[in-house]
């Protein structure tokens, strides 16, 4: 920074907003920057105004922000992810537009919508947001919502820790968001490799925003992993043996294991980089014995398991929906379990394939190349299992099935390009080209995004009590599939033509046709995003016609479909005693599945607490103060965190007791309602006759 650090405001001053840049020099780049900041500011103002006008502050605080209920925490995670997804996709659109206008000449090399530095910020925030603040919250949110219900538990093992995790993830997202308005984000890509991101080449706040966003949300994710693992190990309903767990629970367990063991590596590499930047350490510098290659090594020890953290929950979702919407039992349950666990463990042995070209000898590259090819095997097993599940099933082409089909077609291409890249000698040719960009979007979009959107569509009724509009759901799905094909398949070609990734400009006119196709794809992606939000809105407006109070709109076979929609706070009136693998399905076979329990008892639920909110507030102040070198605030807010924990430790916290009578009343009302609703056949599932009570005789799962 050009001026001396102020003791009160640190490096903050009026020069840091994009509006200052706009005043200094009006061009397309600064207009885009100021426009984005304005969207953030106006969006915040609109949100605050809406909450105030509707008098929603109280309900928001009481029912959501202070709630330790895993279902609500899950929904909040997904809401956060969707907001960040909007920003991520818009950034992708801006980048595609930029590259479609970025053809320079030898005389005037720079061209395009945004300045090179601005472009670098765009791809850095896009990557960071999509991985850490879209994909992660989506899958964590979905697991939070679904896992306890599938296990027959009322909540996570540690509800308050869960709340803290959500708070910390939100802090990370908020830091990335606020970098739009105050200061700049880093330009080192989502991996932020030193020495470029060291203090010498990247002074200023950009890399620090990334560091603190990653460190803080990383702690949140570690705690989440611990929470998931303990929930699965200790909170299963009686009779729910491991081999009776639905596949989604298995993939959640794999995710938990990988989070527990992979997140520390990210914490270490980021903390080392922070020490280099803040305290003059020499972990990754060029001089004084630093070794920047150790950063790549440690970062990818996290980074590779992270890839499977992202993809495995989607595999869990696909296992559930392929079986439910085909009206068939899941094919090869055991092989899917083994495949998931193998992927979880093997994913820890392949990290070097992210830096084949760093200079190690061929023997090392071969070892990791082979491990990488091996991990393709269990993934292939899974694809065949899902196809076999759908084979000769009575498949209903619902939105999740459109996503699943798109996944089949596209993910296989992405996987195969991965196997190509796993060969070090080929990797040497195409690394750092847009071939790689095409490859990882080709696995992450069909894998994570389609999987999570399919999961949201599938479980939405359980959360809110009404289905999502099928027609709009399918339109969204088709737009996402088409958008992907047009945006990213051209990048394979461009990569093979020699276009480096992350280039703000290029001088080869042969690239242009492909750039235009990719730009058209980006328009489709933008349409898909709009269509996604429209689906939510239009379904909300038609919520009465789409309501499914019976709670089982798809004739499912797992426990979560046995409860009303939306599921009550306590989920199950009595903790179920599980008798079989597809317990709810087996109950359906044995007639009268909606039998009331013999007796009800008081239910203990964790009481609401602002603990997570307070810790998140303190962490945000700490991170923001560290980014801007406001030391007094950093010290105060840092001390506040152990202070809050110690304070809570002193308090005796009574659980919330829900009286048996209240549970009985609600449960009887539900069962009465189910008895009065007419059952819906598969053929009518999409119509308003679907009130959440399926025709049990049709169940074949």
């Amino acid at each position: 920074m050009n001026e001396a650090t102020s003791p009160i405001f640190g490096n903050l001053n009026w020069q840091v907003t994009p509006y200052t840049d706009l005043l200094r020099d009006v061009n397309s780049s600064t207009i885009v920057g100021a426009g984005a900041a304005s969207v953030l500011v106006l969006g915040t103002i609109a949100g605050v105004a809406l909450l105030t006008y509707m008098r929603w502050w109280g309900p928001l605080y009481r029912n959501w922000l202070t709630s330790p209920d895993a279902k609500k925490i899950g929904i909040m995670y997904i809401a956060l992810a969707l907001i960040m997804l909007a920003r991520g996709i818009i950034e992708g659109f801006v980048m595609r537009t930029h590259q479609a206008t970025a053809l320079g000449t030898l005389a005037q090399q720079e061209s395009g919508l945004v300045a090179p530095d601005h472009f670098a910020q765009l791809f850095s925030t896009h990557g960071t947001i999509m991985i850490f603040f879209v994909a992660m919250p989506l899958l964590i949110g979905l697991i939070n919502f679904v896992l306890p219900q599938q296990l027959g538990a009322r909540d996570m093992a540690f509800p308050v820790v869960n709340q803290v995790s959500l708070g910390l993830t939100t802090v990370g997202a908020a830091l990335v968001m606020i970098s739009l308005l105050i200061g700049k984000f880093g330009t080192g890509g989502w991996t932020m490799y030193p020495p470029y991101t060291g203090i010498e080449y990247s002074p200023g706040e950009g890399v620090d925003y990334w560091l603190w966003a990653i460190l803080i949300s990383g702690i949140g994710s570690t705690l989440t992993g611990m929470n998931f693992a303990v929930t699965i190990f200790k909170e299963r309903a009686p009779g729910m043996h491991f081999m009776r767990m639905p596949l989604f629970c298995w993939t959640s367990l794999c995710v938990a294991i990988m989070m527990i063991y992979a997140m520390p590596a990210l914490t270490v590499s980021s903390a080392m980089l922070a020490l280099d930047r803040y305290a003059g350490f020499h972990f990754f510098t060029n001089e004084a014995g630093g070794n920047m290659m150790n950063y790549a090594n440690i970062f990818w020890m996290f980074g590779h398991p992270e890839v499977y953290i992202l993809i495995l929950p989607a595999f869990g979702v696909f296992s559930e929906i392929s079986s439910t919407y085909s009206g068939k039992r899941l094919y090869g349950y055991t092989s899917l379990v083994i495949a998931s666990m193998s992927i979880a463990v093997i994913s820890f042995t392949v990290w070097l394939h992210h830096f084949f070209t760093m200079g190690q000898s061929a023997g090392v590259n071969i070892a990791f190349g082979i491990a990488t090819m091996i991990i393709g095997i269990p993934t292939g097993v899974k694809i065949y299992d899902w196809m076999a599940t759908m084979w000769r099933g009575r498949v209903r082409i619902t939105a999740p099935i459109v996503y699943l089909t798109g996944f089949f077609l596209l993910f296989v291409i992405g996987g195969l390009s991965g196997i190509i890249l796993a060969n070090p000698s080929i990797d040497y040719q195409v690394h750092n080209s847009t071939f790689l960009v095409a490859h990882f979007h080709n696995v992450i979009i069909p894998g994570v995004l389609y999987g999570m959107l399919a999961g949201i569509h599938y479980w939405f009724p359980k959360a809110f009590g009404f289905r999502l509009d099928e027609a709009w759901g399918r339109r969204t799905a088709f737009l996402f599939v088409g958008g992907f094909v047009f945006t990213f398949l051209p990048l394979y070609v461009l990569g093979l033509m020699g276009m480096p990734r992350r280039s703000p400009t290029f001088q080869n006119p042969d690239f242009m046709p492909w750039m235009y196709i990719a730009g058209f794809g980006a328009v489709l992606m933008l349409c898909a995003l709009t269509s996604l939000f429209w689906t939510f809105w239009t379904s909300y407006r038609n919520r009465l016609a789409l309501a499914v109070p019976g709670g089982d709109p798809w004739n499912g076979s797992t426990l979560e479909w046995s409860t009303p929609a939306p599921a009550p706070e306590w989920t199950f009136p009595r903790i179920p005693h599980v008798q079989a693998r597809h317990d709810w399905g087996e109950t359906k076979r044995s007639n009268d599945p909606w039998r009331a329990p013999k007796q009800y008892c008081d239910i203990e639920m964790p009481s609401n607490t602002p603990h997570g909110l307070l810790i998140a507030g303190a962490s945000f102040c700490f991170a923001f103060a560290m980014v801007w070198h406001i030391w007094w605030l950093a010290i105060l807010s840092f001390l506040a965190v152990p202070g809050l924990i110690a304070l809570r430790g002193m308090m005796i916290i009574e659980p919330k007791i829900i009286k048996a009578a209240e549970v009985e009343e609600a449960d009887c009302r539900f069962r009465q309602q189910v008895a009065n609703l007419s059952a819906v056949t598969r053929a009518d599932e999409e119509t308003s006759r679907n009130r959440g009570v399926p025709d049990v005789s049709e169940f074949a799962g």
Binding site: L223, F233, K234, I260, D276, N291, A646
Partner: protein
């Protein structure tokens, strides 16, 4: 769910009823968390090893100049005895010897931990005086980060002990406090384990 012999010794016997069942979930969760912490240390150990060569030391002071093996031995003794002293807390809680015994054992642990920290900080100051600051070389960065992180853990352990003493004084040895004492035990012994790694691989091996 409640088998006999869950956490024998460290935790509570089956006579403690609900605290015993709760301990199973909570302490298992804490074990998982500690394993995650172990990875942070493990990666730092691996980094330390990769910087332990003339290039990583970059002409700065090396182990022979900086390490005081006698002080390391004293620190080891403090931590080892401190770890065993936590046995007093575990046994005192499990066999209901009352608050005084538990608080006295906790104070002893905290005092021994503080003794360890005193000698460690003294070493750090001496080393910095000899030019062994973390800014001097990659190897010294790794050394300070690893050993410093362990020191920060011991310091947090002492803070946690103080918080537990306050809780015992105010709340008494209720179920929640007993479970937390079990977790603190896992943490405190875990620090001992890490120190075994540190004195062996950070101090003794480079001197060998």
């Amino acid at each position: 769910m409640s088998e006999t012999n869950l956490y024998p010794g460290l935790n509570l016997g089956s006579g403690h009823g609900e605290a015993h069942d709760q301990a199973e979930t909570t302490v298992f969760g804490f074990w998982v968390f500690v394993m995650s912490d172990l990875f942070i240390f493990g990666i730092l150990f691996a980094s330390y090893a990769s910087y332990l060569d003339p290039i990583g030391m970059a002409g700065g002071p090396g182990p022979q100049t900086l390490f005081d093996i006698k002080s390391v031995a004293i620190q080891t003794a403090f931590l080892l005895v401190g770890g065993v002293a936590y046995g007093g807390v575990s046994i005192g809680t499990k066999y209901e010897h009352g608050r005084t015994v538990v608080i006295a054992s906790l104070l002893l642990c905290a005092a021994l931990g503080a003794g360890f920290l005193f000698f460690e900080v003294k070493d750090f100051i001496t080393q910095a005086g000899k030019g062994g600051v973390p800014q001097a070389s990659g190897w010294l960065s790794a050394y300070w980060a690893l050993v410093g992180l362990h020191g920060v853990h011991v310091f947090s352990g002492i803070l946690w002990i103080s918080a537990m003493i306050a809780q015992i004084a105010v709340r008494g040895l209720d179920d929640v406090v007993k479970v937390r004492l079990s977790m603190l035990g896992v943490f405190w012994h875990f620090l001992d384990l890490i120190w075994v790694g540190i004195f062996s691989f950070v101090f003794l091996v480079p001197l060998a």
